[in-house]
Symmetry: C2
Subunit: 638 residues, 2 copies
């Protein structure tokens, strides 16, 4: 990542993603990335979804002490249904001063005395409420523009995919977004006090999203490094970030993160509430929990994980499990219920919680506190009992026009994954599903980004709207910067594989552009079009370091005497002669089916270039040798 300035110089990671240009599309200036291809390709730039915010925009001035611009504030005030008010006072316990260690301090975010917004008394400012009144908000328009990406470029688009009953449109209109939100099939997490966020949708009929988790450090004196965890995650594609901090400084750290985050932020409020009672689950009370919700609502948290489905009668159902209760929030509530022999206050006070949610437009992420923690416990009685309760709570939230998504497992073998999706759709009325993995085997600690990436791609295809990432350190330790990147990129590719299989229009454009670049030995284009251009180029250079190797029509497997591109051109000439139907020249448009006659590139010029390139590289080839493994240097096995 030589092209990324060190955090130390400028606080957080900035600089454009290699090979990408920031563009701002439409009247709302929706931020996207465009990847320019080599002129020889004769192809237009490829436009890709961008979660990275201003941090990858060379034109933006980044000052984390000032925070990001309040993109949505005007829209909010224009609706005339909010009030400013004096916030709840910050207390020592908000920063975990009850914890064992009182040292270590995070400075409060400078913009002191910010006055939060909330709905006017008795009001409801949720996107779902507007949607159900037939109002198309700017947030919905922004989402529509953002989801469409390059779809407009693709005329005569041929749908190819299996969507398992989803309703993915060829083109996303603001009205479609409104309708999906009104039905509860999609959410736009958008706490009124997080105006810095760029609107995004989580729903089965939109692109599959991914979430990354971050947490505070033991000694969090370096605020920039806390903020950079979020910045680093969204650089590689995280659509939302959950702050799972515990211990000290969590209030102040959260403020720094939210003020600088262009993506929605989620939390698990019970974590902070537990801190406030010194980590003793049985000492939790509704009052302390409620106060924590208000505290985080005023800061601008966009969605809350609430484990309201962990009901007293379900707890004994986990007694015979191999791994009991593995959800931390679930364990906390189970412990509370057992200690008091009472029904969960989250379940009993659910409508009161919903009152708070609608006053700030916070979305529910109903937590699966009883999810399976092992293959052995997948799809058991406890898991599904809770799921149906989450469905019941979904209806209660919707009755007050509050947005909801549902959290899902966990550890599930492949043959039991689809049942999770089907039951969730049925139990929860098509509310968006937000799953962790699932991991399809338990035997590969150190590789659980992969065991879970397999399940994530599959359940994403089946209909999950957002995938919660897993890093290689899962079950073992704390992910470092590289682990977070690997986790995010792994989930990004799983989400994209799901989009492809569902038949999302335009999803295939990027695959086709990269494959054409690969076939035509446009190495730079291949790197730039990939999810992680830095790693792709680095791997290539380990074998053929020379700058020339990036431009020559040459790969390290086949050598100078042999080139599939040349052979394919011969094949095309042969086919043309044989069938007397020469490929029609087609105006280059990314991803057009009609494009494929040209797809492999070629033409006499390209061939001449190829031969020149190979001549030039054959010496290099002899130097670097012909060590041969599967697919080495761009070719495939055998």
């Amino acid at each position: 990542m030589a092209d990324i300035p060190s955090r130390l110089e400028i606080g957080v990671t900035t600089g454009p993603i290699r090979g990408s240009r920031k563009v701002h599309v439409g009247p709302l200036k929706v931020a996207m990335r465009e990847i320019d291809l080599e002129p020889s390709s004769g192809e237009p730039p490829v436009r890709v979804y961008d979660t990275s915010g201003p941090y990858t925009d060379p034109a933006a001035v980044i000052d984390i002490a000032a925070g990001l611009p309040a993109l949505r504030r005007e829209w909010q005030l224009a609706r005339g249904d909010v009030e400013e008010y004096a916030p709840r006072e910050v207390r020592p316990e908000d920063n975990g001063q009850l914890g064992p260690d009182r040292s270590g301090g995070v400075p409060p975010f400078p913009t002191a005395l910010r006055r939060p917004l909330r709905a006017q008394p008795g009001g409801n400012i949720s996107q779902m409420h507007y949607a159900r009144q037939g109002i198309i908000t700017p947030e919905m328009e922004y989402v529509a523009e953002r989801e469409n990406l390059g779809r407009a470029q693709i005329r005569e688009h041929i749908r190819d995919g299996q969507d398992w009953g989803a309703a993915i449109p060829d083109y996303v209109t603001p009205e479609f977004v409104r309708d999906e939100v009104a039905r509860g099939r999609a959410i736009i997490p958008s706490n009124v006090n997080h105006p810095e966020a760029e609107p995004m949708a989580i729903g089965r009929n939109f692109l599959v999203k991914i979430n990354a988790n971050i947490g505070n450090s033991a000694v969090a004196s370096d605020v920039a490094s806390e903020v950079d965890k979020m910045v680093w995650s969204i650089r590689w594609g995280a659509d939302t970030v959950m702050d799972l901090s515990t211990g000290r400084n969590i209030h102040d750290t959260r403020e720094w993160i939210i003020r600088n985050s262009p993506v929605p932020i989620g939390t698990v409020p019970i974590y902070q509430a537990l801190e406030k009672v010194g980590g003793i689950a049985e000492d939790l009370t509704w009052e302390i929990f409620r106060d924590t919700l208000i505290e985080q609502a005023e800061q601008g948290v966009d969605y809350f994980t609430i484990h309201a489905g962990v009901r007293l009668p379900y707890i004994p159902m986990t007694a015979k499990r191999v791994t009991g209760i593995v959800s931390r929030g679930g364990s906390i509530m189970a412990k509370w219920c057992l200690a008091h022999h009472k029904e969960s206050f989250l379940y009993e006070r659910f409508d009161e919680i919903t009152e708070i949610m609608k006053a700030y437009d916070i979305a529910y992420s109903l937590g699966d506190g009883l999810r399976p923690g092992s293959i052995a416990d997948a799809n058991d009685e406890a898991q599904f009992a809770e799921l149906y309760t989450l469905g019941e709570l979904t209806k209660k939230a919707w009755a007050q026009d509050v947005q909801v998504m549902i959290e899902g497992p966990g550890h599930v073998p492949m043959h039991k994954i689809k049942a999770n999706m089907d039951k969730q759709l049925e139990a929860c009325g098509e509310a968006p599903f937000y799953t962790l993995g699932p991991l399809v085997t338990d035997i590969a600690p150190g590789y659980d980004h992969i065991t879970s990436g397999i399940g994530a791609a599959m359940i994403g295809w089946f209909g999950t709207a957002m995938l919660c990432y897993v890093t290689p350190k899962e079950h073992l330790g704390l992910p470092d910067r590289d682990d977070v990147k690997v986790g995010v990129v792994t989930y990004k590719l799983a989400a994209h594989a799901a989009d492809l299989a569902k038949g999302h229009p335009a999803a295939k454009v990027r695959d086709d552009a990269l494959s054409k670049a690969r076939f035509e030995f446009r190495w730079r284009d291949q790197f730039n079009l990939s999810l992680d251009p830095d790693t792709a180029e680095q791997y290539h250079d380990q074998t053929l370091p020379a700058e020339g190797a990036k431009t020559a029509h040459f790969c390290s497997m086949c050598g100078p005497k042999f080139c599939s591109m040349k052979i394919t051109q011969e094949v095309r000439d042969f086919a043309a002669r044989q069938h007397n139907n020469p490929p029609q020249p087609v105006p280059a448009k990314a991803g057009r089916e009609g494009d494929q006659p040209q797809a492999g590139g070629g033409g006499p010029a390209a061939i001449a270039e190829a031969e020149a390139g190979m001549e030039q590289m054959s010496e290099k080839f002899r130097e670097t040798g012909s060590e041969l493994y599967l697919g080495a240097g761009g070719r495939e096995h055998d």
Copy 2:
């Protein structure tokens, strides 16, 4: 991998796999590994499939100049149907001396003048031939013992899986193996001249297998490092190894590899044939190809990839593809067919090739030379035209009792994977499918072990018998030692996930044992039961380096005040009181459903131990801090 002696000391990687013991089971002394668990678990050792050969057996003496013992030689001679004869003479071109660089030399394997075996004139020594005569060979008995693993331990086993029409038995008998081989649903690659190999089966009703590819270095003076590529691959679980070497020294290098390989070795003979004609595809002749088959047959190659399905009429079907022909063997044959405007000699001479196969018991791996090289080209006309020709050739091979497997794609989006399996079963009469990935998206170069691992797990579940691995360097460069390990482990977990989903008896035993260890904080057991114990322990130590952290009932996420194990014990007591049905003590047997009441471990002693452990570790916890990410330290998201 601190516990693995460096190659430099002793030539190749030896030493036991961490936490494993080599055991030899049954009258045929079938090599397996056993993993002992902590006494506190009260559980028996977990027995796992072992591909690593004598290299991981401390009792074995490794001398690569002598090669491995000829395990199968007695069995072969006892059948009385082979003859020794004077081998074909080695020629300069066998070692690629026609290549541009004449330097670099591999010493011939010392055991000079070995006289190869072959069937007596007109005879057939294939395992399929014996099977169809009703003969159960020692090879079949060995396979039965090997596949059963711990199945015998599991009484009252409850099947759980979806096998898509496979016929997986509860217990594998030698007769079952014979019947599967006779039907052509499984193969036992076993060239009579590779008696060092430990018999293994590739078939839909057996455990899913994986293949790793290796190749020679440009300057291959260090023979040990060439042999070690194979040794390193099988250490981590490769069931077969393909030698895809080109250029110089390939004959001698191959000899060294085969003499030291306990797993079947596959090759693509057209590669060496192409070397013999200086890399000019159109100069290939049947005579040169046939001579190469004999050369490799005498050395002991167990299966040949033969691209006999690349027929002249299919070649024009690739003209409109995005990525044309990406199979190297396919390109070579396409080029030959076009240059001569003739049908492929591989197709026309197929029965003559089969005559050679049956004289040595070499299995066909019918190559998919027209497989898709991109999402755009998946499941197209060219691909399936070739597949149905491979089916036709399968029947021709079976008519001579020669073993066959079928190679498959490639690049395929998730929704098009199952059709590949279904068509292959139908077209090829249930001959084993051997697939490369498939990759489910093209946009993640640098991560294609993952994009392909997703497709591999799915198609393995659907019925693929062997998965050809992909490394992180796929499409970019040449994998190093670490890349090979990551590729093998990734495919091992994908194959195991497929076994779980298919409902292989005993597959779940290892998952359950690891999950119980995880839940009971038996860190050592968790490491040892994982596919890569070295990496698992290394990742754990990065967060909690102290030796105590590996034994304490403690994890870095929850801290001293909070332990899911304690809560689960409370849950169990509560459940017991509530329902007045205390968990029955069950004799510990790995994986028994009846085991689960005990599964979470616990009991007053365990709890006391847990509390002691946490006391001891709470100080360490404060030191290392509570940085919190998803699932850190063994717990899950929220």
